[in-house]
Amino acid sequence: MKVLVPVKRVIDYNVKVRVKPDKTGVDLANVKMSMNPFDEISVEEAVRLKEAGTATEVVIVSIGPQQAQETIRTALAMGGDRGILIKTDETVEPLGVAKLLAKVVEEEKPDLVVVGKQAIDDDSNQTGQMLAALLDWPQGTFAYKLEKDGDALTVTREVDGGLQTVKLALPAVVTVDLRLNEPRYASLPNIMKAKKKPIDEKAPADYGVDISPRLSVVQVTEPPVRQAGEKVEDVATLVSKLKTAGVV
């Protein structure tokens, strides 16, 4: 089974973002960037499938600026076999990403695409589902556990209220949730080895897909700031404050 894993370069999850004063976006200059945390889980799962003998090859793909190559290298150091960088300096919306990925799927013919459930920058939670729709493949979103079972994949999903298990005919698209696994750290020897693994460089134009944005950003603003609160001395004071506020 061949597995394709899309990864996204995003602002590091620990960074507190700042909105630009001109309200055109958030300030990404000189900010630490990393692999989207959900994508680390996707890579880890694909590598585990390979280690278990279930997957034969793990192909990493990223759409973004030249620096997204570093994100691909990280995934290769975790155990990916080779990479594809679709280089663009434009912001590509999930629909455009899904269309490009659908083309990569046509070329690469993977049996499984493992996608992070959402990117922590745009918080869209769309790409995997859109890709499944474009390919007419089944989807197993928010995966908590996955098991290959012959030509099918059993996916336990994190849903509101608990867990739901579905069975998908392969090929399929799975989006991963936080609890699927604990991603490994790339070791230094593996980081060195990853430098030798091939990365194919492409451009969106190579795929003949229209990725022009459908949404225009009117403005980006700061969320409302909460008024500073107060520290209370003890439980009795807390209870009386809450009673005065009418919330207990």
Binding site: I120, D123, N125, M130, G229, V239
Partner: protein
């Protein structure tokens, strides 16, 4: 202008999330219809017909849509969209699963977790874990939108819409439902609760989590939430997680117990009306958003609080 709302339900009862989406749909300024897809969900369709402002309810009944899996729901919704300018889903796991699939089939961008409708093309939505609010204008002919429930009031229930039957899709489909394991709880549902008490890693164990959190929640009639750390450590089920990637809540009272207040947690609760933090680390970031902060050992303070209420 006509807007279709996809009802959220468990085949027995209509979720309050649907009423909130109807409120958002009404802001588009056109007719609002509700689609109830399920199996044996006649009561749900009847309940949807009573939601204020609904013109008509479309009811699809069949085994293929019993669990509202994305593929059959796509097959049901996409053809219906010939008659609608927009389709709205609750930003729940069910809505998030279906909406992008429908959008891609319609070749439109989906708009996730809107918190305000400026006009029928323009919406506000949080990005970067709620640290920025983006206003986006859609150039697509049809809008596919998920709605953040906490940002809209629930529509009332004085409506009297008609119910029309539509065919459930026949299939076969490439995905099938196998089983589910739902967390049983008599407490209010987290996303819609008026009060939430939430526990973090500092509780130390699943036993302590239950021993301290549940009596306090019961005393307050509150739902119980948890930080990611508490869920990852196995103190609480996944479904309890509040935050960027878990549930988004905005209750009247949110009590954060032993939760440091990471960016990702704040994303899920910082719109709560009153926030209380109990933490022994006075430098914990949670105190920066708390209206009332108590620097104390939670193992002493929580039982005392439960006793004092």
């Amino acid at each position: 202008m006509a807007v279709l709302v996809i009802a959220e339900h468990n085949n027995a009862a209509l979720s309050d999330a649907t009423n909130k989406v109807v409120t958002a749909a009404a802001k588009f300024g056109g007719d609002v219809d509700v689609l109830v897809a399920g199996e044996g969900a006649g009561d749900v369709a009847a309940a949807a017909a009573k939601v204020s402002g609904v013109r008509k309810v479309l009811h699809a009944d069949g085994a293929s849509v019993a669990k509202q899996l994305a593929e059959p729901m796509e097959a049901l919704i996409v053809p219906l969209m010939a008659g609608y300018d927009a389709v709205l889903f609750a930003a729940t796991t069910a809505g998030k699963n279906m909406a992008p699939r429908v959008a891609a089939k319609l070749d439109v961008m989906q708009i996730s977790e809107i918190t305000a409708v400026i006009d029928a093309d323009t919406f506000e939505r949080p990005i970067y874990a709620g640290n920025a609010i983006q206003t986006v204008k859609s150039a697509d002919a049809k809008k596919v939108v998920t709605v953040r429930g906490t940002a809209f009031e629930a529509a009332g229930e004085d409506g009297s819409a008609s119910v029309e039957t539509v065919d459930a899709p026949a299939g076969p489909f490439k995905s099938e439902f196998v089983s589910e394991e739902m967390v049983k709880s008599d407490r209010p549902e987290l996303a819609g609760a008026k009060r939430v008490v939430s526990g973090g890693r500092a509780l130390g164990s699943a036993e302590k989590f239950q021993e301290l959190m549940f009596p306090l929640a019961d005393k307050l009639g509150a739902a119980v939430g948890a930080s990611r750390a508490a869920v990852d450590a196995g103190y609480a089920p996944n479904d309890y997680q509040v935050g960027q990637t878990g549930k988004i809540v905005a209750p009247e009272l949110y009590i954060a117990i032993g939760i440091s207040g990471a960016i990702q947690h704040l994303a899920g609760m910082k719109d709560s009306k009153v926030i209380v933090a109990i933490n022994k680390d006075e430098e914990a970031p949670i105190f920066q958003v708390a209206d009332y902060g108590l620097v104390a050992d939670l193992f002493v303070a929580v039982p005392e609080l439960t006793g004092a209420l």
